[in-house]
Symmetry: C2
Subunit: 154 residues, 2 copies
């Protein structure tokens, strides 16, 4: 075999994919998720669960639905997420004061410490990844850009 040189990874033509933000965003994001998995492997939390903790940590007392809306996913998906986090004693559901239909979410003491540790790890690899960027100003510019792209409508 290999009498004729084959197309290898290096010389594949990506065509329009090279110019599409959608494709490039996906590849970059996949890499970030993979790195998150490596760094937080033993913690037993996914990027999604990390995001829930981040919201509850800064906004104690929110309902499940409010957290779901903030993160842009369906409230039905929050049930399993909160179940897991409550099972790990990282947060807890308390009956809401004014509405007996809903729960208010609060971090436990253990959860606060756990999350602080997780933030430290994630910050560490985020900074490592950000070494692709020239300056802190460039990173801020990129963050603003991504925020705009996340909310742009057609």
């Amino acid at each position: 075999m290999q009498d004729h040189p084959k197309k290898s990874d290096q010389n594949i033509d990506f065509g329009v994919l090279d110019e599409f933000l959608g494709y490039r965003l996906r590849r970059a994001q996949m890499n970030f998720f993979a790195k998150f998995g490596e760094v937080c492997d033993d913690l037993g939390i996914s990027p999604g669960l990390f995001a829930v903790l981040a919201i509850v940590d800064r906004n104690p007392g929110l309902t499940q639905t409010a957290v779901a809306q903030a993160l842009g996913n369906d409230r039905s998906a929050m049930v399993a997420a909160v179940d897991k986090l409550e099972g790990k004693k990282l947060l807890e559901r308390r009956p809401a004061a004014n509405d007996r239909r809903s729960y208010a979410l609060f971090m436990t003491e253990e959860g606060t410490a756990f999350f602080a540790n997780a933030v430290e790890r994630v910050s560490c690899y985020e900074n490592e990844m950000a070494k692709c960027l020239e300056s802190d100003k460039e990173k801020q510019w990129l963050l603003d850009m991504l925020e705009r792209l996340a909310h742009k409508s057609l």
Copy 2:
């Protein structure tokens, strides 16, 4: 209810999520996928299938495994993808010349036309989304940045 103003979507504190590229990348990418779905709804292809077509279109004769490697996913995932695309008569498997284990992938005529049409649609909404960016130079800068972030290792 609502005697005390509740925390609404507008004043939720996203904490560290606001500074994390990983989170911002995910939100931006989710928006792009949602827009792709809206625009290509009737075409019956996902972003993943579109990417396969893009690679085969520009690199006729590649094996399934080569396409999988180019796109960064497992070769087992290619089976269903190629099955779907072949079922829609957009590409075809031909026995590889030198290796009876593998197939070479080629676009059909119909597939070429279909893909050209899809590219037109996706380009259209990509351009609309890119209006978030100040200039074409900025877009190129963003694409380069995303490419680096996609390949950065810890």
